[in-house]
Amino acid sequence: MSAVSEQEAPSPAGPRKGLSPRRKQRISRGVQYALLVVVVVVLAALADWGAIRQSFLNLDVAREGLPDLFTVALRNTVIYTLSGFVLGFVLGLVLALMRLSTVAPYRWLSTIYIEIFRGLPMLLIFLMIGSLRLAFPNFDIPGGVYGNAALGLGLVSAAYMAENFRAGIQAVPKGQLEAARSLGMPHMRAMVSIIIPQAIRIVLPPLTNQLVSLLKDSSLVLILGVTAAQVELAKFGNDQSSTFANPTPILVTGLTYLLITIPLGYVARRLEARQGAGR
């Protein structure tokens, strides 16, 4: 756009042939609005409103899901998510410290781990966890489905969180470690008391986003084969919609996810903004 105006207008103030850039922009914007209106009108005309109300906004069917939607499904989703997050947090921190270690084999191990678990789909991890019994016949992961879910979600999120923590630790100024060491703190003590608390503050926004994506990935727990009491949101919605042959419950579970993800996303953006202002 600006390239055009430069070509056409050797004297910017004088009158010109054709349309000015500002006029062109106004016309282009008008066309875009018109197009949007047309698309909405066409979709509205094509849709069967009666059927939509019957199938997606069926309040009678939606009511059938209560209170289990919240007391069972949402509760389980939160449990799976938080337990996976806690495991991922701890393991991720250890991996980040290994990644930054002066001991080369630690660095290699951590790098290999991170590459593998960031490179695999969560679905595949859950399928493998389901077959873990074949490799370790005498070992059961404690907690049953809950333990398996925490493991799957934790193993994968640890890889992402390790990279976040590493970036956070490296963002803490070098003088902080020097000051701590010059006070006689051993390396590990300095990391725990001085460096890591500052690093966690720095990575709070990406960690919040990680929590959101874990919440969504917790829907894959259904691969593990869950009982009615262990069901989480996505499977709950799917089961209900089969029972009533009506997709309204899927829409309802979708809204329930958004009830958590949208505020969390807002929190992450607030933390980010606060950090930007604080530095």
């Binding site: 020097e178 000051a179 701590a180 006070l183 051993p186």
Partner: protein, 250 residues
Amino acid sequence: MSTVEISDLHKSFGRLEVLKGIDFTVESGQVVCVIGPSGSGKSTLLRCVNLLEQPTSGKVIVDGVDLTDPDVDIDAARRRIGMVFQQFNLFPHLTVRRNVTIAQERVLKRRRDECDSVARENLEKVGLLEKLDAYPPQLSGGQQQRVAIARALAMNPSLMLFDEPTSALDPELVGDVLSVMRQLAEDGMTMLVVTHEMGFAREVADRVVFMDGGVIVEDGPPEQVIADPRHERTREFLRRVLHPGTDPGT
């Protein structure tokens, strides 16, 4: 007994040799100021004294302990050596009180109430007792540097290292930090100070060391090194530092 004894100290970063054989000593209770152009190796020398930089070769003996000996517990040795940095390096996520108590508690294993009274005593010494519960980013540069001095003193060091402690300060804040250091010198603390403050060096130092190009060019009492330097390089440096006026910020 001499507190610091450095002999034939060399330090290289890759192929760049920054220290080319340093020999010098600091007696107990002495204040030694190290001056010299930037890049002369004076900060590196200071950082070798508490092994923040690992010397390439040579010996660093503090209070009779050879720090370059791999069998020496360097963390234990560093407890006795306070260090004050150009950029203060206070812990920004902790209150002033916690900045001064955390190492006492975690490293010296002092009881909480003892940590607290030591913190108060040292913050009073630097005139900042009322900032006990403030966070470092709420303080001015000069106040932060004084807290940093209190933090180092709380460990009861036998030696204090100062790495250009006033170079990052606005000119009107330099005086407060220097007067704390002057008081410390009067109280008999052994101090090794890298500085551009010629007035402070002349007034407080027992000895002034002039470094250039990784070697000590001149070492003697301030009235000799600053007022009547023997070497052309020292004279040249002092001309440039003293005559552009009072600006310390280079």
